[in-house]
């Protein structure tokens, strides 16, 4: 519950918090459809060219991908903990959890960057150096999807890192953030995690059963 009085258009702080929650979930719904549209494209090609997709997906780095998934899941646990800490008034614990969340987010991006560099070395980057003769046209479509989706995801994650980092700093300042604020940014962070939960099997786990 907020401690400050609500804005003039709201009657109570509770109403304002409920409005914030609904607003954030509406925004997340738009993000589901934004990323989902990319998935629609992916599905179309996976349905019509399953063998080539599987062949292309085997070039992804499953160890790094799995590690990254674990990193992101852990970061979600930390920001959920931060919400509880903020709610209990434990500002330094909250700041620590938020800082860990952001740090894990940075770790994710670092691992992703390392992955990208490996793929660059193997000539798997469309528009830059993709070796279509070696891998084929459909593989290029797969990797286009891969870079598009993970790049967009990383962009959303970077925004989240900035927000969470800012919250961490604010938690130990004179005007610590309200629980509702941490909760809302937590929702955003968890959502970025959910996107990755779906991207992971679609990118890394295709065609491994051979």
């Amino acid at each position: 519950m907020s401690e400050q009085p609500p804005a003039f258009q709201f009657a109570t702080a509770a109403q304002q918090d409920e409005a914030s929650t609904l607003g954030m979930w509406t925004f997340l719904a738009t993000e589901v459809l934004f990323f989902g549209a990319l998935l629609a494209g992916y599905s179309a090609y996976r349905i019509t060219h399953p063998a080539e997709f599987a062949e292309a997906a085997r070039h992804t780095k499953i160890v790094l991908g799995t590690a990254n998934t674990a990193v992101l899941l852990t970061s979600s646990a930390f920001i959920a903990t931060a919400v509880e800490m903020t709610n209990a008034g434990r500002r330094r614990a909250a700041a620590l959890c938020l800082a860990l969340t952001a740090a894990l987010g940075i770790a994710f991006i670092a691992i992703k960057g390392w992955e990208y560099s490996l793929e660059y070395g193997e000539h798997l980057v469309p528009a830059l150096n993709f070796d279509a003769d070696r891998y084929g046209g459909i593989a290029q479509l797969f990797f286009l999807f891969y870079f598009f989706a993970t790049g967009l995801h990383a962009l959303h994650l970077a925004i989240g890192i900035a927000l969470v980092g800012g919250l961490a700093g604010k938690s130990v300042s004179d005007r610590p953030p309200e629980t509702i604020t941490v909760r809302m940014i937590g929702l955003y962070w968890h959502f970025v995690d959910v996107v990755w939960i779906f991207l992971f099997p679609l990118i890394y786990l295709v065609g491994r059963n051979q």
């Binding site: 629609a40 929702l187 099997p201 786990l205």
Partner: protein, 110 residues
Amino acid sequence: MSEALKRIWLCWAALLVLLAATTGAAFLPLGGFNAFVALAIAVCKALLVLIVFMELRRSSGLVRAFAVAGFFWLLILLTLTSADYLTRRDTTVPWQAERDAHPSAGSEAL
């Protein structure tokens, strides 16, 4: 609050178990079923994050409806688009059929 923390970190443990399961299952020779297993586990992980971390378990019905709405609408996009891709039949016109029967070296892809 320790209740809440226990719930969060138990959920985290479950998520890591599911991650190990999905990665492991990918290597099992299940044919077309692999895709289904991977997506099913992904849905489970997403539900855990949504229900526990994003607190849908103690949100109002309205908030839950909002949470579901995006995914439901995405399902519409995926289902009806797939309806086209799954039901297409390739029809060859006479000149294509002839070209396929007698492919000559260096011919254009289209």
